[in-house]
């Protein structure tokens, strides 16, 4: 299974409240966002939605994941277009070249590094994560200037799981101990890559509360809005 993208700052919200925290970083390298003639190549969001079963196993749910993926793609696109951004889509039926495949894997590593960024003592106020100038190979035939990478991971309790949690709460209160209660969690990330330099010019990671559920279109729209709130293009 794909390694999950990590969170930059972890504020786990329990499903009870609708708290959402976001963490935006923009590059400190030279970057001037210009909407004129800038095309953004949007990659298919990497989405996995799972159910937490009563036993504690998380199980990916195909229709949840597909719905969430389609919804997020639509929602992100709408959100971008409402800002007059010029969006094109990565043609997924085209086989990627070896170089593009490696760049996609490097992208995974860079997003992982994003999560470690906060503890690096040498960075201070610098944010300069990049895929390197070879990243323009990701543009393929699209002629895009930027790439938008997005991902979402969510796990949701099933009715059975909620019942177990309720029972655990009761039991732990009675015994005075703390029971580990597995609640649903959701993290979504968008990153904007300048394809001429490979720099991640802007990235936002959101820990989403219960109301922003991308499995339905309204939830997805809410997620997209949250993620793209300060989008520079």
């Amino acid at each position: 299974m794909r390694k999950s993208f990590a969170i930059a700052t972890a504020t786990i919200c329990f499903a009870v409240t609708a708290c959402t925290t976001t963490n935006v970083k923009t590059t400190t390298n030279e970057f001037s966002a210009s909407k004129a003639n800038s095309g953004t190549l949007m990659f298919e969001p990497d989405v996995e939605m799972s159910a937490i079963l009563a036993s504690g196993i998380t199980e990916p749910r195909a229709e949840w994941s597909q719905n969430a993926q389609a919804n997020l793609q639509t929602a992100l696109e709408e959100e971008l277009r409402s800002r007059s951004s010029n969006v094109t889509f990565m043609d997924d039926s085209v086989t990627l070249t070896d170089q593009q495949i490696q760049l996609m894997k490097l992208k995974d590593a860079v997003l992982q590094a994003n999560s470690q960024y906060a503890v690096l003592k040498n960075k201070n106020d610098v944010f300069d994560l990049t895929l390197g100038p070879d990243a323009n190979a990701l543009a393929g035939d699209s002629g895009a200037d930027y790439a938008l990478l997005s991902s979402a991971r969510g796990s949701f309790q099933t009715a059975g799981k909620m019942a177990v949690n309720a029972a655990l709460l009761v039991l732990s209160a009675a015994t005075g101990g703390g029971a580990y209660i597995q609640t649903g969690q959701q993290v979504a990330t968008v990153s904007l890559v300048d394809l001429s330099t490979g720099d991640i010019v802007w990235t936002n990671t959101a820990n989403l509360g219960g109301r922003a559920d991308p499995r339905d279109i309204d939830g997805a729209k809410s997620v997209a809005k949250t993620l793209l709130k300060d989008f520079p293009l």
């Binding site: 999950s4 972890a10 760049l103 690096l120 003592k121 040498n122």
Partner: protein
């Protein structure tokens, strides 16, 4: 079908990553001490304290994050020690012994990368004689794949002095990152070789 998604595990891991980075320090430009030797740093790095298999302290330096560039500095490893703790019970990490030949030392490091870092298909090349603080040493380059299939490049300088092993180990993704700090690492190795 034994499949599990890693959402919670990876969230925990992410938290752990930030937490277990307990005590990363700023390694400012200048001489950086790593046990029995020092290396010159031409820019600021972050240094993590790590441990060998037997718990001996070592250093892990990075500039952009350990998955993007890592320089491991091991000093005075003794007979029987290994670069890291075992990952899996049946998967022993190789141990340093004083009777290893130079080629076997290269093998020791390549094996450690495979068993301890989960790298695949480690290929070594450009194996050359060198020195480490005046004692005979070897230097070599390598390529590998990480668990995700991302191409990794690296280089290492290893030397044994008074039956103790010293290692400088650099690795980074081949695209963009290996080249970015190759010069910095060469400067470290050159300073140790002179």
């Amino acid at each position: 079908m034994k499949i599990a998604t890693k959402l919670l595990a990876s969230l925990a891991a992410a938290a752990l990553l930030t937490a277990c980075a307990s005590g990363p320090k700023l390694a400012s430009a200048g001489m950086f001490e790593a046990g029995s030797y020092s290396v010159p740093l031409s820019q600021d790095w972050t240094a993590f304290n790590i441990k060998t298999g037997k718990g001996k302290p070592a250093q892990l330096l990075t500039i952009d994050g350990t998955v993007l560039n890592s320089v491991y500095l091991y000093s005075d490893l003794k007979e029987g020690d290994s670069l890291m703790k075992e990952r899996k019970r049946d998967n022993p990490v190789p141990k340093f012994t004083t009777d290893l030949s130079e080629l076997e030392l290269v093998e020791f490091l390549a094996d450690s990368l495979e068993r301890g870092h989960g790298l695949l298909d480690v290929q070594t090349m450009n194996v050359e004689p060198s020195s480490f603080k005046g004692a005979e040493a070897i230097q070599f380059d390598f390529t590998a794949l990480n668990e995700n299939g991302l191409k990794i490049s690296g280089s290492s300088l290893l030397g044994v002095e008074d039956e103790k092993l010293n290692i400088v180990l650099y690795m980074a993704p081949t695209i963009h990152y290996y080249g970015k700090l190759k010069g910095d690492v060469s400067a470290m190795m050159t300073s140790l070789a002179s």
